[in-house]
């Protein structure tokens, strides 16, 4: 296994960055990763979300996976939980739409109405 020393350095740097911003996440993103989600391309969707956050140098957004929510026909499904706001669920989120949702909703604060599901 690769040495963990580098990882410890990353940890210390991340902590320093987080302290500068008060240590709280501004948003949580949930990507549905059941069989249906994965078959519909959820891995690429999650990758696009993480890549966009990285490109925008955003490090205070948590991205997590979840199982099937029962809306398989809408996969890939993504939920955005902004702090102090009701969660918004988006359907058919491919990589391109994922990047748009990150930029407009998480960073811009505006729901992307035409992509909202439910």
């Amino acid at each position: 296994m690769k040495s963990l020393d580098e990882l410890r350095k990353i940890r210390d740097q991340v902590r320093k960055d987080l302290e500068l911003r008060g240590g709280q996440h501004r948003a949580k993103v949930v990507v549905c990763m059941g069989t249906c989600g994965i078959a519909a391309g959820a891995r690429e969707t999650m990758k696009a979300i993480l890549d966009t956050l990285e490109a925008e140098k955003v490090t205070d957004v948590a991205v997590v996976a979840a199982g099937c929510q029962g809306f398989c026909e809408q996969e890939p499904l993504v939920e955005i939980h902004l702090r102090d706001a009701a969660p918004v669920r988006y359907g058919h989120v491919d990589a391109e739409k994922a990047a748009r949702i990150v930029r407009e909703h998480i960073l811009g604060g505006h729901t992307v109405d035409e992509l909202v599901f439910g």
Binding site: M33, C36, I38
Partner: protein, 187 residues
């Protein structure tokens, strides 16, 4: 599923749903025989699934009475002349093993194995352990990674890069070999 790595990602979700805290994912490739194994420490197979684990209508799901993960895995493996075994006595966790012949004309490509494993390692709350080869050697232990990170998020870009590098270096020879033995591959 478009490729075999997505099947591995898919069955790794089952262990999360079962509440496992430690899951060992093994990957090995001998000649053109690819083996995925997943061993978790969850509660074992529940009654509705134990009867016939790879049957779509034997499921614990409550959203609808169909579960396709293991059924699709079995179809993908058997299409290459391989097989899937699922064992899980109550209290002993579940072990899934899938064997594929990558040289078979109907074998789908291996795909982005590193991406699938990083997604599972970051996405699911249990400690994923990745083992490579036979006899297996540990190439990633998320329990140690979590200890080293001490509360820092796994989804942080720098952490994800580290994980991609760690698994990328370890799995590169296998991915290359897989491309070589694939039907119509670069052998």
């Amino acid at each position: 599923m478009r490729d075999l790595s997505l099947h591995l990602l898919d069955i790794l979700e089952n262990s999360a749903k079962a509440g496992a805290t430690r899951v060992v994912a093994g990957v090995s490739l001998e000649n053109d025989i690819l083996t995925f194994s997943v061993q978790d420490n969850g509660p074992g197979l529940p009654a509705p699934v134990a009867a016939d684990p790879t049957h779509p209508y034997c499921t614990t799901r409550t959203e609808r009475p169909v579960g396709l993960g293991l059924a699709l895995l079995r179809a993908a493996a058997e299409a290459t002349g391989g097989s899937v075994t699922v064992a899980g006595a109550a209290g002993r966790g579940v072990r899934v093993e899938a064997v594929f012949h990558l040289g078979h004309v109907d074998a789908r490509p291996l795909g982005d194995l590193v991406g699938a494993l990083v997604t599972a390692a970051v996405g699911w709350p249990y400690d994923l352990v990745v083992e490579l080869g036979r006899p297996p050697g540990v190439v990633l232990d998320m329990a140690e990674v979590r200890r080293a990170l001490d509360g820092v998020s796994l989804a942080h870009p720098s952490v994800r890069r580290w994980l991609e590098q760690a698994l990328g270096e370890a799995l590169a020879p296998l991915q290359e070999q897989a491309a070589g033995v694939a039907f119509g591959g670069t052998r």
